[in-house]
Amino acid sequence: MLKQIEGSQAVAEAIALCRPEVICAYPISPQTHIVEGLGERVKSGALTGCEFINVESEFAAMSVAIGASAAGARAYTATASQGLLYMAEAVFNASGLGLPIVMTVANRAIGAPINIWNDHSDAMSQRDCGWIQLFAETNQEALDLHIQAFRLGEELSLPVMVCMDGFILTHAYERVDVPTQEQVDAWLPPYEPRQVLDPAEPVSIGAMVGPEAFMEVRYLAHAKQMRALELIPGWAGEFREAFGRDSGGLLHSYRTEDAQTIVVAIGSVLGTIKDTVDELRREGVKIGVLGITCFRPWPLAAVRAALENAKRVVVVEKSLAVGLGGIVSSNVRTSFTGSPDAVHAVIAGLGGRAITRAALARVFAAAQAGTLEPVTFLDLDRALVERTLAREREQRRSGPIAENILRDLGVVAARPH
C-alpha cells in the first residue's frame, strides 16, 4: 500500500511486518523515531508476540539482542554514530558468535567534534567486524532491505546492518509502498536457529578458542560472507518477483554502458549524482553511476565487471580514512583493473555538509579534464583551513580547533579582548 510517511516510520512498519520477537532500544539521534514507532506498536498491542525493552545503553542494547537471539528469538535494534561505537565490543561478539541480529544504523558522523548529521563514518568504523552491511538509496529501499536482511541473516547465521542516511532519509517524507503481512510472511519464514540455548538440549556457546582453531573459525566467518555474495543477487531477484520492485542486490549501474567516467557512491547521494549525470549526459558527456548496495561483503567481481570499460572512476564518499584518504575508494581500487591512479576519492558531505549538483558537476568536469586530484575534499573552505593553520603556527596555546573555526565562521560569539 502506498503511503507518504517519514523514512523512520517506513522502517518501523517494515520491522513490524517481519514479526520481531525482541526489540531493544537506546535513544540516539537520528534513529529514535524508528524505535519510538516500534515501541508504540508493541505497547498499543498493534504488534504482538514482541518484547520491547528500554535498555540503559547501546552496549546493553546489542547485548540484550545477543541473549535473545542465542535463545532463539528474532532480535532487532537500531543505533547511530556514538552509539554504534559504544556497542562495538558487542557488535564483534554478535558476528563472532554467528547470531542473525538485524540492526538499523541511521548513518551519522562520529565525534569529536560532536555532530548529529549524516555521514558514513559510523558504519565504516565497523566495516570489518563481520556483519553484513547494506546501504539504502531511498526510503523504499530502506524498508525493503530490512525485510531482506532478516532472511539473509537467518539463512547464513550472520548479523546484518542496514544503513540509511541519518536525517536525509530517516527524517524525509517520501512515498513508499508498504507490503502486506501476507507478502512478508510468504517471504520470511519463522526463525530456525542453527544454535540455541535450550534446556532440552544444553550447549555451551562462547567458549574460548585458542591458537589451535582460531584461524579456522575466522576463515569460516569470511567464507560465510563470501557465500552471501552468491545469495544476495538471487534473492534480489526473488524479491522483485514477490514484491514487484528492484531493491537490494549487490550494486546497480546507471547509464554506465558506454561511460568513460563512472561515479561510484553509496546511499542517498546517488539520487543527486544521477540528476547531475543526467544533465551532463544532455551535454554529451559519457558518464555513468555505480551504486553499491552491499558494502560488506565487498562485491569485488561485480564491481570489477561494472567498472571494466571505464577510463576513470570517481568515488564520491561520505567517509574518511584519516591519514589515508578514502575508504570506499580504497575498496573500489581493489576491484579496478585499470590504473589505480584512475580511481579518484572525493570526500564529501562529512558531518552533513550538503552535496550539491553544482559542486558535483565541477568535480566531474575536473575528472573529465584530467585535473582531479587523487583525494579531494568537496567544497572545502580553504581560507578557513589556512586561518587555523596560521593560528597554530603563531602560538602554542592556539585553542580548540573546532571552537576556533566556528568563531571564524561567526557562529560562535567572538572572544572578548
Partner: protein
C-alpha cells in the same frame, strides 16, 4: 562377612550423611539425582571457592526450576576454567558473551523465553566481582531497574583473579593486589573506596537480595531456591575465597569464609524489596585478626611492627557491619 554397626550420634545436624534426613531436607548436592551442572573436569585451582559456590548454586537452581534453566556467564575465572577449549564442563545451556554485559544478555534470554511462551524456563546470570561491580555495573543496574526476570549471582573473591589478581571495587581495604601493592605509606588497597554491592542491589528495590558464603553451603542452596520462588530481578552475592589470590592454604577456603562471617567482615543476610528481612547471626564473634592472619594478601599488616592502626580500622568496619545488620545476639559475645 560381619558388619560393624556404625552409630551416628549427630543425626540432628547436617554434618552426618543426608541419608538420615527426610528427602526434602537433604542438600541438593547429597542427592543422587543432582544435575552436576558444573561437571567435574573443569580446570579450577585446588580449593577454588568460586567453583564450589557455582556447583552448589547452579545445581540448586536446576532443582528449583525443574531443570528449566539457562545460564549466562561473564568473562572471568569461572568462564575460563569451565570451558577450556575444546571442552565444556557445563551441563546446562550456557552462554558466554562479554565481560561487562552478562546481565543484559540474561535479560535478552529471559525476554526470548517470555515471548515464546516459555516462562517456565528461568535465567541465571553469573560473574565475578570485577564483572559485576565494575565493568558490568551499568548493565546490572539496568537489569535491576527494569526488574527483568533474572537471578544474578556474583562470586566475590575481591579482585580480578583470572588476569593476575588486580584490584576491583570489591577489593577490601589494605588487601595486597597486583595493582595495590604492599608498598609505600599506605600499603595495599586504600581505605575509603569500594562498592557495597548488596546494598546497591537493595537500593534498586528489587524483590530479593541475599548474601552467602561457601562456609554455609546449605544456606547458599536455600537462598538460591528462595530466589527462584520470586519473579523479577534477584541478586545473590557469594563470598568465595581464592587460595591463589589471597595467599591462603587450599584446604582453608571454607574456614576463611567462615571467619569472614564470624568476624563481621562479611554480613550474611536476606533482603526483599530493599529491606533486610533476615540475618544469619554470628555464632561466636572473633576479632578480624583471626580472619586476616591466614591470608598472605594481608601479611604486610603483621610485620615488625604490626599495623595496629590499620587492623583497628578494619575492625571498625566489621563492627559497623555488626551494628548495621544486627549480626550479634546477646549471646554472641567473644568467648
Amino acid at each position: 562377612m560381619s558388619f560393624q554397626p556404625v552409630k551416628f550420634y549427630q543425626t540432628g545436624t547436617f554434618t552426618v550423611g543426608n541419608r538420615l534426613l527426610a528427602e526434602n531436607e537433604r542438600s541438593v548436592q547429597a542427592n543422587m539425582q543432582r544435575t552436576n551442572s558444573l561437571n567435574s573436569g573443569h580446570r579450577a585451582c585446588q580449593g577454588c571457592g568460586e567453583a564450589l559456590g557455582a556447583r552448589y548454586a547452579i545445581d540448586a537452581a536446576m532443582q528449583a526450576t525443574n531443570r528449566q534453566l539457562i545460564a549466562a556467564n561473564a568473562t572471568g575465572c569461572l568462564e575460563v576454567f569451565s570451558t577450556p577449549y575444546p571442552e565444556t564442563s557445563w551441563q546446562v545451556p550456557w552462554i558466554h558473551s562479554l565481560f561487562g554485559n552478562t546481565a543484559s544478555v540474561a535479560t535478552g534470554i529471559a525476554a526470548a523465553m517470555r515471548v515464546k511462551g516459555r516462562s517456565d524456563v528461568r535465567v541465571v546470570a553469573q560473574g565475578g566481582d570485577g564483572g559485576t561491580t565494575d565493568i558490568g555495573f551499568g548493565c546490572l543496574s539496568g537489569m535491576f531497574e527494569r526488574n527483568d526476570d533474572v537471578l544474578y549471582i556474583c562470586y566475590d573473591n575481591g579482585a580480578y583473579m583470572n588476569t593476575g589478581v588486580q584490584r576491583s571495587s570489591a577489593t577490601p581495604p589494605a588487601a595486597r593486589t597486583a595493582t595495590t601493592m604492599a608498598v609505600g605509606a599506605e600499603p595495599g588497597n586504600v581505605f575509603g573506596q569500594g562498592k557495597d554491592m548488596p546494598a546497591l542491589a537493595m537500593a534498586h528495590g528489587i524483590p530479593y537480595v541475599a548474601t552467602a558464603t561457601v562456609a554455609e553451603l546449605r544456606d547458599l542452596e536455600a537462598k538460591v531456591r528462595r530466589a527462584m520462588s520470586f519473579r523479577g530481578a534477584r541478586y545473590i552475592h557469594i563470598f568465595v575465597p581464592c587460595p591463589l589470590g589471597w595467599g591462603h592454604a587450599a584446604q582453608d577456603t571454607i574456614r576463611i569464609a567462615r571467619l569472614a562471617k564470624e568476624t563481621g567482615v562479611f554480613p550474611v543476610f536476606e533482603a526483599e524489596n530493599g529491606e533486610v528481612v533476615s540475618v544469619s547471626k554470628i555464632r561466636r564473634k572473633l576479632p578480624v585478626e583471626e580472619y586476616l592472619r591466614p591470608q598472605k594478601r594481608f601479611a604486610h599488616l603483621f610485620g615488625k611492627p604490626p599495623s595496629t592502626e590499620v587492623i583497628r580500622r578494619i575492625q571498625e568496619l566489621a563492627d559497623r557491619n555488626i551494628r548495621r545488620y544486627g549480626l550479634l545476639d546477646a549471646q554472641g559475645a567473644t568467648p
